[in-house]
């Protein structure tokens, strides 16, 4: 592994996956002036991803956050490909594909072969073990986690996950890279949920259970925790934004990895996912679409 002369410069960056997170990360990196190559499985998916970035940037232009020239420049720096070989020469690879261990484990060796052992490899996983994914490539000391939060262009925090075998200079380089793209890096251990989700998931589960127990209506739980605890967005609204299926998947993974009951998905969460009440994306959730038809709430 050869580190860049300026730790964290990483001029050529590859992003694997052009979904919500991949698009957001590609945009963040391209805005810093770097060229980004995004790998997807088909041209339609590449087009979808590019539309995501365009949409986000156009909103930004509308809100006066950037000029239309900036938007065009950022879009020019992003190249899509469906060919793994096109990633050759990348100094940093950021993987943001679906949270499926087998899929990631199949993809990484192919990507590693294309980019060679000189590249630093990171996964944006939120629910899987970084150390486990690192074992799928030669020289796992250059493999780490780089956990962006959704929406990546707006959220300042990035968790830099130190896997068991990650080399210290890789962590230093990634920390510098995060700062150079305008993010706030925090180095964390490779544990389920890392730091923020380890704290957030039990809290969200606890609120869901209390809601099901009728402690208060969803709107009052949100107001109390916004005004009293300082949440920027109350937990019920936040769950609708995250997606109940996404939270369910993340907290179930953490539960399976730890058997810690704090992570066990509350029964109401599982039932809402089964009913298709996924939050904003499906138009119905704890607050979205007026919430539940038959709320268990019975306070006041």
């Amino acid at each position: 592994m050869t580190m860049p002369a300026d730790p964290g410069s990483f001029e050529r960056v590859a992003v694997l996956g052009f979904g919500t997170m991949g698009a957001g990360i590609a945009q963040v990196v391209a805005r810093s002036g770097r060229g980004v190559t995004v790998l997807e499985t088909g041209d339609d998916r590449l087009a979808d991803g590019r539309r995501r970035v365009e949409g986000f940037l156009t909103d930004g232009v509308g809100r006066g956050k950037l000029t239309s020239d900036d938007r065009e420049a950022v879009l020019r720096r992003i190249t899509g490909t469906t060919d793994v070989a096109a990633l050759a020469g990348s100094e940093l690879v950021i993987e943001a594909v679906v949270e499926d261990r087998d899929l990631k484990a199949e993809l990484w060796p192919r990507v590693s072969e294309a980019v060679g052992t000189g590249a630093v490899l990171v996964t944006n996983t939120s629910a899987l073990s970084v150390t486990d994914l690192a074992a799928t490539v030669p020289e796992p000391s250059r493999f780490a986690g780089l956990h962006f939060f959704n929406p990546a262009p707006l959220m300042k925090l990035v968790e830099v996950v130190r896997a068991l075998r990650t080399a210290p200079e890789v962590i230093t380089a990634l920390t510098g890279f995060c700062e150079s793209v305008g993010k706030t890096p925090v180095v964390v251990k490779d544990r389920p949920g890392f730091l923020i989700n380890k704290l957030l998931m039990p809290y969200l589960n606890d609120v869901i259970q209390a809601y099901d127990d009728g402690l208060a209506i969803a709107a009052d739980l949100d107001s109390a925790l916004e005004l009293g605890l300082g949440d920027r967005m109350g937990p019920m609204t936040l769950l609708d934004v995250i997606g109940l299926d996404t939270h369910h998947h993340a907290t179930t993974s953490a539960y399976e990895a730890t058997l810690d009951p704090q992570f066990a998905p509350p029964p109401l969460l599982s039932r809402m996912v089964a009913a298709g009440y996924l939050g904003d994306k499906s138009g119905r959730g704890f607050r979205a679409g007026g919430g539940l038809e038959n709320p268990t709430e019975e306070s006041s």
């Binding site: 925090v186 730091l195 704290l199």
Partner: protein
């Protein structure tokens, strides 16, 4: 300032609220007195102890004067609020109160005795508000001959600055008291949420396990005080990181509230982790002692 009246009283038999008694001149009592006096009510702050009362009145008046100096109130508004505010050590002086807000020591027996003492003093229509944070409203109400008029109204500290008041009905609280309380809170400019009479209501019910989890994360080496505060402020958008907040709250207070909730829920998530006892023993209580998770040059708490 004209006294506020409920816009359309749904219960014409109940008198409009003009006079409010606040019992207990500590941090919460004096803060609540500021809120009530500022809303235009005649406000009588009562404390058993002359020195406590004087300190509480000073705190309340000082807050109002500083608010005027900072331009948050006009001199007339501050002057009128100060004029609305008086103090007493005699419970009998609360005889004309339409609402009595109890903000005394968190002890069930003491609170029950206060309501019992007030039975012979206030009118049978006076609403009895308890600012308990961790005790059962129903248990406190049991001290009164009119438990139907007792309701939990939990203000956040500092009361003049925090908008939220949690409203919790006890088992016997009647609808009239609940409705009139919501209207009264609206005249105070507060945002209310309605919750069950359960330990910690909403905010402390979630704040305590949250802070305990953050403390456990620190003990487990998942981050440093600084990195965890940074992650929470930048990742979750909290205005203050959890360790900064604990320093403001005070480790002794965190321990006290956590233990009270733990004793009632018997759920280990509420039990304070070992670091809490260690820091309390060391006197590292936070801002008030100049040292907690961070060190402080002064011991000033939140001002106006």
């Amino acid at each position: 300032m004209t006294p506020p009246f409920p816009m359309t009283p749904p219960f014409p038999m109940t008198p409009p609220i003009r006079t409010v008694g606040v019992v207990g001149a500590g941090t919460m009592g004096s803060g609540i007195a500021v809120v009530v006096a500022q809303a235009g009510y005649r406000t009588i702050l009562r404390d058993l102890d002359e020195a406590n009362l004087a300190r509480g009145l000073d705190t309340a008046r000082g807050f109002l004067s500083r608010s005027a100096a900072k331009g948050k109130l006009t001199p007339e508004q501050a002057g009128s609020a100060i004029a609305n505010l008086s103090g007493t050590t005699e419970l009998g002086d609360l005889a004309g109160a339409d609402v009595v807000i109890e903000a005394i020591f968190e002890n069930l027996g003491v609170k029950q005795r206060l309501w019992a003492d007030l039975d012979g003093v206030v009118s049978p229509e006076t609403m009895l508000h308890t600012n308990t944070s961790t005790l059962p409203v129903t248990g406190i109400a049991a001290g009164s001959k009119g438990p139907n008029r007792v309701i939990g109204t939990h203000y956040c500290n500092p009361a003049p600055l925090m908008k939220l008041v949690e409203i919790a009905r006890g088992r016997h609280t009647d609808d009239i008291t609940y409705q009139r309380t919501l209207e009264f809170m609206a005249t105070l400019g507060k945002t209310t949420v309605t919750t069950k009479d359960q330990p910690g209501f909403i905010v402390n019910r979630f704040l305590i396990p949250w802070e305990n989890n953050v403390l456990r994360a620190l003990e487990a080496g998942l981050g440093t005080v600084e990195s965890i505060d940074l992650a929470v402020t930048s990742g979750l958008g909290h205005p203050m990181g959890p360790f900064r907040l604990l320093d403001v709250v005070g480790m002794d207070i965190h321990k006290e509230v956590a233990m009270r909730l733990y004793e009632q829920f018997r759920d280990p998530r509420f039990a304070p982790p070992p670091i809490v006892d260690r820091m309390v023993a060391a006197g590292d209580l936070g801002r008030k002692t100049g040292r907690g998770f961070y060190t402080y040059d002064d011991d000033r708490l939140f001002g106006a």
